[in-house]
Amino acid sequence: MCLALLAFALGAAPAAPPGLAGVAEALAAEIGPPPEGRRGLALAVEGVAPALAPPLESALAAALSRRGYAVSPLRGAADPEPRAREAGADWVVRVRGGLAPGRTEIALVGELIPTWSSFFLQRRPGVRPVPPRLVQARAAADPETLLLARPGRAADASRVAIRVLARVPGRVLALAVGDPVGDGAASAILAVTAGEAILLSGGGARLASRPLELAGRRPVRDPAATAAIGDFGGGRLALAVAGEPAGRVFAWQGGRLEPAGTIAAAPLCATDGGRIFGAFAPGKGLLADVLSPTIDPEAPPRSGREWLAVAAAPRGGPYPVAALGAGGRLELLRGDLGTAGVLDGVGAGFALADLDGDGTAEVVASTGTPGTPERVRVLEYGAAVAVAFESPPIAGAILAGAAGDVTGDGIDDAVLAAVVAADGGVATDLLLVTADPRVVP
C-alpha cells in the first residue's frame, strides 16, 4: 500500500528535467540548510530565458524546501532585496543562469543575501546583518533544458550571422557535423582535404587530425570526398575520397583519430534517422545515383544521373535529404528518397539546416554562379519568398557544407567551407552560418 502510494505520488509529480533538477539541487547544496533557524527565503530567478525561469524557479523552490527553507517566489522587475525585507523574509536568493559556453551545461549563479532585521542595526535598516554570499552550480544540459534555455527571441532564418570558425590548410572537399563520441555531448566538425582528415570542435579548435595515404588512389580531375558523423560500427567518423576503392572509418579516441575499418561505400550523410551510403562514379569526382541506407557495393544506380553532393537534415523534416545535380539543381528528397521538390541556383557548397527550429530544414547554399562573387543564401522551399537571406559577397569559393548544432542552442547551424588564397597556396575558411539569437547581432 505504501509502495503504491509512493508510486502514485511519483507519477502525480513528474520530475523536473534532469538538467534543471540537477543544477537546482546543486545550488541548494551550495546554499546549505537554514542557519540559526532562519528559514524564510525569498527566491528571485532573473536573467534567464523566459521559458526557463518558471521551471527553474520550481526546481529551486523544491530543492530549497527539501533543505528546510520556507520559499516564497519573488517575481517582477522591482529590486527583490527591499521587497524581501518588506515581506519579512530572512534571506533573498537572486539567481541568474543560462547555458555555459560550449552549450553543454546549464550554469546558475546566486546571491544569498540576508534580509532579516538586526537588533543591532535598528537605526540603519538597509544594512545587511551578515555579508552576502555567492553560490554557483552547474549541471549537464539535456535536450529539454536546452530547449527551455533558448533565448526569448526565436531564431529566424532571415536573421543569420556568418562567422569564420577556423582556417584549415588546403582545400576542404567535404564536411560533416555531429557527435564524434556518441554521448550526446558537443558537436564536432569533420573536415576532409585530399590528404588529411581534421576534427575540429564546435568552436573551431583542432581536436585531432590524420593524414590520408594517397597510395592506391586513382587520379580524379576534380578532387572530391564525402564525410559523415554517425554510427559506423567501430567508429563514428566516416569519409570517402574519390578515386579510392573504399571508404574509411575513424574513431576519436584519446585525442587521436584512430582507423576503425573500411566500408565498401561512400558515406554520404548520417542523421538521427540513419545513414545514407553512395558511390563515386568511376573515374569522376561526382556521385552516382546510388542512395542506400545500407552498405551495398552492388546496389545499382537509381538512374544515370550524377550528383555533386548529397546532404541530410540533422533532424529530418518533410525533405530530410537533398542531392545536388548539374547546373545547380537541388532535388529535395522525401524519407523514401522520392523527389519532394526542386530548387535551382544552388552552389556546390550547401547544407540542409533547420536554422529557425520550425521543423523544416532550410537550404544554406553558396550562389556558385560563374563570374559572380560568392554569397551565402538561405533558401526556403515552398515559401513565398524563397530567398530568406543573402549575405554580402564572401571571400573564397564555397565548395562544401554540412549542418548540425554547432552553437549548442538545440537548433541546427550550417558550416560551409570557403576555399581562399593563403600563403602562396590555398586554405579553407570554415564559416559558421547560424540564426542563434545569441550570435546574431
Binding site: R171, R218, P219, V220, R221, D222, P223, A224, G243, A281, P282, G283, K284, G285, L286, R305, E306, L308, G325, A326, G327, G328, R329, G347, A348, S366, T367, G368, T369, P370, G371, P373, E374, A395, G396, A397, I398, L399, V419, V420, A421, G425, V426
Partner: protein
C-alpha cells in the same frame, strides 16, 4: 582558371574551385573548331602549330609546363640532372595505361623517345642530345644507346653533352608517349567521323587518363571558318557540341590569346652566292613591327632576336636586343633575282612573303614566289634548296637552349641544332642576348615575328586555362548550367 576572383588568381587551385563552382560531367560534348581539319595525328610528325595544339586531345607528355615551371605529366616527378647535366632518370607514375587499356611502361617511353631519332623526323631536336642519336639520325638502325630501360617504370637517358634543360623537351607534344598501336594517354581517344562529310571526328573520354578522366564525355575536332564559328558561338552550341574555337583571330567575346610561339624566319639559302649580302641587308631592314601588326591575324610579336619573349626567362637587356633595322637609302643593287619559298597552306605566310617581295623590290632585288605544300616545303628547307625561305618554326620547348635547338634544327639541321643547344646551355641571362644574336648570324636567318592562336570558348564552356607554353589540357574543359547535350 576562369572567372575567378582576384584573390584566387594564379593559384594551384582547380579552375572550377576557383570559380566557386564544381564541374559537371553530365553529357558534355566538346567541339574544337580549328582553321583546318587536323592533317597529322602523329605527335612525332606534326609541324603545323594548330595540329600540335590539337594533338593534346589525344596525347599526354612526360612533363607539362605549369606556372611555376615544369611539372609531372606521365612522370612521377620532374627529373633532376645527374652527372653534370648529362643524365636523367625518368620514373613513370604507377599504373599508367594507354587509352586502349594497355599498360604504359618504361619500354613505351623509351620507344617514343627513340623514334624521335629516326631519320626524317621533324622533331629530331628532342632526341638529338641523347647519346647515340647522331648515328641513328644518320641511318644506323636501332635505338640511341643513351636510352636505357631500367625497370618497368624507369628509363635512364644519357646525353652526349651537358644539357640541364633537357627535361623541357619532354614537356613538348612530340615527346608524348605513344603505344605501338598508335594510342596515346591523353584525355580523349579515337577519331570517329561524326558527320557524313567527315569534317569533324570525335574522340571519347579516356577513363585511364593520368590526370583523371576528362570532364567532357567526347571531344570532336574539325574545321570551322571564322564566320561559322562566330555564328555557332552565338548559339552556344555547335552541331557537334559545345564549341572551343582555336583560330588566329578571336571568334567572339571571351577570346584568350595564347602565347606567340610560332616564330617565322627569313632563311637565306646557300645557293644565293654573291647576292647573299644584298639580300641579307634588305631583309634586315624590314620593319618587323609593321609585319607583325599588319599581316599577322593572331597574337603577334616582332622578333628582336632569335627567340620570342614567350620562350625567354626574362626580357633581354636593352643592349642585348637587336636594334630595329633602319630603312636605309635605296641604292642601286646589282641585278639580282631570287625566289622566295613559302608554305602554300598558310595564307598568312603568303601575305607576308608578298610584303617581303615589295620590300626587296624597293631595294633593287627582284623576286618571285614559290609556294610548296608541307610535304615538299620541309624537305627543301632541310636540303637548303631555296634562295630565301619563309620558315615558320613552332617553338614548343619552354627553355631557350632547347627552343634555339628547335630553330637551328628546322633551319640548318642536326649539327647546327647541337651547336645551338650546347652554346646556350646553362647560359646566365645576362649572356643570353648576345648569344642569341650570334646564333642568328650563324644560322643566317632573319627573325621576323612570332605569332600565336586565340582560344574562344562558348559562353557556357568552363575551365579553359592555357598553360604558360600555350598548350591546353582539354580534359579540364567542362560545361556550366547543363548547356551541353
Amino acid at each position: 582558371m576562369t572567372r575567378l576572383r582576384a584573390a584566387l588568381a594564379g593559384l594551384l587551385l582547380p579552375a572550377a574551385a576557383a570559380a566557386g563552382v564544381r564541374p559537371t560531367y553530365c553529357g558534355c560534348d566538346l567541339a574544337i573548331g580549328l582553321p583546318a581539319a587536323p592533317r597529322q595525328w602523329d605527335p612525332a610528325r606534326a609541324m603545323d602549330p594548330v595540329d600540335l595544339l590539337a594533338l593534346g586531345v589525344h596525347h599526354a607528355t612526360p612533363l607539362v609546363v605549369a606556372p611555376a615551371g615544369l611539372a609531372p605529366g606521365l612522370l612521377a616527378e620532374v627529373p633532376e640532372p645527374q652527372a653534370g647535366g648529362r643524365a636523367f632518370r625518368l620514373v613513370l607514375k604507377p599504373d599508367l595505361r594507354f587509352a586502349d587499356g594497355t599498360p604504359l611502361g618504361a619500354a613505351d617511353l623509351a620507344a617514343s623517345l627513340a623514334r624521335l631519332a629516326q631519320p626524317g623526323t621533324p622533331h629530331g631536336w628532342i632526341a638529338l642530345p641523347i647519346d647515340g642519336a647522331d648515328a641513328v639520325l644518320d641511318g644506323r638502325p636501332g635505338a640511341p644507346a643513351g636510352i636505357q630501360v631500367l625497370s618497368d617504370r624507369e628509363v635512364l637517358v644519357t646525353l652526349s653533352f651537358p644539357l640541364p634543360d633537357f627535361p623541357a623537351a619532354l614537356a613538348t607534344i612530340p615527346a608524348a608517349v605513344v603505344s605501338a598501336r598508335g594510342f596515346g594517354a591523353g584525355p580523349f581517344a579515337g577519331a570517329r567521323p561524326v558527320r557524313a562529310d567527315g569534317a569533324f571526328v570525335q574522340a571519347r573520354a579516356n577513363d585511364a587518363c593520368a590526370q583523371g578522366r576528362p570532364f567532357a564525355d567526347t571531344a570532336s575536332l574539325g574545321a570551322v571558318d571564322p564566320r561559322g564559328a562566330a555564328r555557332q558561338l552565338e548559339r552556344a552550341l555547335s552541331e557537334d557540341g559545345l564549341l572551343l574555337v582555336l583560330r588566329p583571330e578571336a571568334a567572339g567575346p571571351g577570346a584568350v590569346a595564347l602565347p606567340a610561339r610560332t616564330a617565322t624566319y627569313a632563311a637565306l639559302g646557300p645557293r644565293l652566292g654573291a647576292a647573299a649580302d644584298a639580300v641579307r641587308a634588305a631583309l634586315g631592314s624590314i620593319d618587323r613591327a609593321e609585319l607583325a601588326r599588319l599581316y599577322v591575324r593572331g597574337p603577334s610579336e616582332p622578333l628582336a632576336t632569335l627567340l620570342p619573349s614567350a620562350v625567354l626567362p626574362a626580357p633581354l637587356p636593352a643592349q642585348a636586343a637587336a636594334p630595329a633595322p633602319a630603312p636605309g637609302p635605296r641604292r642601286a643593287a646589282p641585278a639580282v633575282r631570287i625566289a622566295l619559298l613559302v608554305l602554300s597552306a598558310s595564307s598568312e605566310q603568303r601575305a607576308v612573303v608578298q610584303r617581303l617581295q615589295v620590300k626587296l623590290f624597293d631595294r633593287g632585288i627582284q623576286s618571285s614566289i614559290e609556294t610548296a605544300d608541307a610535304e615538299r616545303f620541309w624537305p627543301r628547307v632541310t636540303a637548303g634548296d631555296y634562295d630565301v625561305a619563309l620558315v615558320p618554326v613552332p617553338l614548343l620547348a619552354a627553355r631557350p637552349a632547347i627552343a634555339a635547338g628547335e630553330v637551328a634544327w628546322a633551319l640548318r639541321g642536326a649539327a647546327a641544332a647541337r651547336r645551338a643547344m650546347a652554346s646556350l646551355s646553362a647560359l646566365p641571362p645576362s649572356e643570353l642576348g648576345p648569344a642569341l644574336q650570334a646564333l642568328a648570324r650563324d644560322l643566317d636567318a632573319i627573325p621576323l615575328f612570332a605569332s600565336g592562336l586565340r582560344a574562344t570558348p562558348a559562353p557556357a564552356l568552363q575551365g579553359l586555362a592555357p598553360r604558360p607554353d600555350g598548350t591546353i589540357d582539354f580534359g579540364d574543359l567542362w560545361v556550366w548550367q547543363g548547356a551541353s547535350r
